[in-house]
Amino acid sequence: MELIWQGLVEAVRLIATGDPEILQIAWLSVQISGSATLLSLLAGVPAGMALALARFPGRSLCVALVNTGMGLPPVVVGLFVSLFLWRSGPLGFLGFLYTPTAMVVAQFIIAAPIVTGLTIAAMQQLNPRLRLQLLALGASRWQLLWLLMREARLPLLAAVMAGFGGVISEVGASMMVGGNLQGQTRVLTTATVLETSKGNFDLAIALSVILLLLAFSVNYLLTCIQQRGRTP
């Protein structure tokens, strides 16, 4: 109990004093996970909408693959991204391994199926006749897609939260493709693992609290946007 208390006190101290290393780690976590989430939205929302609205052979197989991808173990993603980016691997020439870019790639692979899968669900929970009604009101194809996204904004924001939550909290892939290099690829989760392994529990707790606060802040912001103007 004493250990946890000390950790909490240390967390407050580190946040209050604005420890430069902690701030750098936290900011890098936001940058990497934020970028990965943004990219997964850019790819996942259109893909999810296409899978939800279009009818083509093999669609069910695609949806099943996406749904499987929603539970993709980060270490497996880390392993395959490492293999691809390894110096002798197919994409080794890019020189991305042990860089934040490699971590963004790995986190994107984790978040994209989550965003895609939840976008499919969000679109499919809309009344199927709404599409017809919007077309009948004179919507163009792009206007239709925009209006459907607007109608599904609550579950779509939930998809953003789930995607961000999935990557900000993962450690396996970041550790494997980033290497946890101090000042370069060390993020909150990998730093927590490192400090715990070194027995620096107070620092590990402090990092965990910051991670939780960060996750809470982002989700609180998104929830405020999601629930804006809604009365119970």
Binding site: R129, A136, L137, G138, S140, Q143, L147
Partner: protein, 366 residues
């Protein structure tokens, strides 16, 4: 005759190889209200979607103002924007009532002053001005359908397409909205295609009525023609003819026919040749019942059938009375007000006389 604004030619729609719509020709004239009636699954909504350019037919052509519509071209959207549709479900967007009404205009990038004017006008016309700022999700069924109608009218469409807009409403709300719609459509002179399975709605709104069954249009005409002169037994049953008995024309004199039906001689106006086999149709509201022991003065009706009450069922403010007439005890159905029903003290077995005019008889060749 007014030129058609919208036409469908040789329309055919197949679902999984099965034909659900086969309409060689349908035309909607400018300014008219064309009601399409038929039972569920008749293909009415499919036809409306095709005419509204929301679903391409498997084959056939839709013409708007004389020009064939090119499916898949950029002109399709421009042509579709001449139309507005209201469906059975209001299908409002998750926003305020006024934003919903403005939606069609915003999609057309109308100037914001024009949008505001139209929204205010139609909020007032539909009696929902007090709901302008309400979230659409909090509206009752009737309010939501008013909003949906306002949204369609605000576009000022050349053709308004209504797909059973009142089917999900309770009777008083439906009646109120139907009256309001009747006024608004006349006021705006808006060309309308109105799909319904309710023949009373069609009678109230339609300038012309098309009867659809099994994906085909069986009859098109003004209401008196469709309801009074159905072309087939199926149409007759759907438009409310409850007495349909097989018979044979046995005499003809100056347009007055004598038809033998179940051993009874019926006089009818119409054209048929002696010996022709026909179906005799009678609408229940055209029949008058009196007790057989009741004394009557002179009557202009030419047909008097003796029979006995078989059963009576209350229908709204009336009773539907089934009477077994003639030697074959053919069933004739009449509508009687509750007051008359009580005055005549009708019950099972009561001997009665059913009276109707020769002009009330419609004959369908068999």
């Amino acid at each position: 005759m007014t030129a058609p604004i919208l036409e469908g030619l040789d329309l055919r729609v197949l679902y999984a190889g099965r034909p659900v719509l086969e309409v060689p020709r349908i035309e909607v004239r400018a300014g008219e209200i064309l009601a399409i009636i038929g039972p569920n699954g008749a293909g009415k909504s499919t036809l409306l979607r095709v005419l509204g350019l929301l679903e391409p037919p498997t084959s056939g052509v839709v013409r708007f103002r004389g020009s064939p519509v090119a499916w898949g071209s950029g002109d399709l959207l421009a042509t579709r924007r001449h139309f507005a549709s209201v469906f059975q479900e209001p299908l409002l967007c998750d926003t305020t009532v006024e934003a919903n009404i403005a939606l069609g205009l915003r999609l057309r990038r109308a100037a914001s002053e024009a949008v505001t004017t139209q929204v205010q006008t139609w909020l007032a016309h539909l009696g929902i001005a007090h709901l302008a700022r309400r979230e659409a999700g909090s509206l009752s069924g009737g309010e939501a359908q008013r909003c949906s109608l306002a949204r369609a009218f605000a576009i000022q469409p050349d053709v308004l397409l209504l797909d059973e807009p009142f089917a999900a409403l309770d009777p008083p709300t439906k009646d109120e909205l139907l009256t309001l719609l009747q006024v608004l459509l006349r006021q705006e002179g808006c060309t309308t295609v109105f799909v319904t399975h309710d023949r009373d709605e069609a009678l109230r709104l339609g300038d012309r009525i098309a009867v659809m069954m099994g994906g085909r249009i069986h009859q098109v005409g003004v209401p008196s023609e469709v309801f009074g002169r159905p072309v087939s037994e199926e149409v007759a049953r759907f438009v409310g003819v409850e007495t349909i008995l097989p018979g044979r024309v046995v005499a003809e004199q100056a347009g007055l026919l004598t038809v033998e039906v179940d051993g009874m001689k019926i006089e009818a106006l119409g054209r048929a040749t002696v010996g022709e086999r026909v179906l005799m149709c009678l609408r229940p509201e055209d029949l008058v019942i009196r007790r057989r022991d009741e004394r009557v003065g002179l009557e202009s009706a030419r047909n008097h059938l003796e029979g006995q009450v078989e059963d009576a069922t209350p229908v709204g403010a009336q009773y539907r009375v089934r009477i077994a007439c003639g030697p074959a005890r053919g069933g004739v159905v009449a509508l009687v007000t509750r007051q008359s029903f009580d005055d005549l003290a009708l019950e099972r077995g009561t001997p009665v006389v059913v009276t109707f005019k020769a002009s009330a008889v419609h004959l369908i060749p068999r």
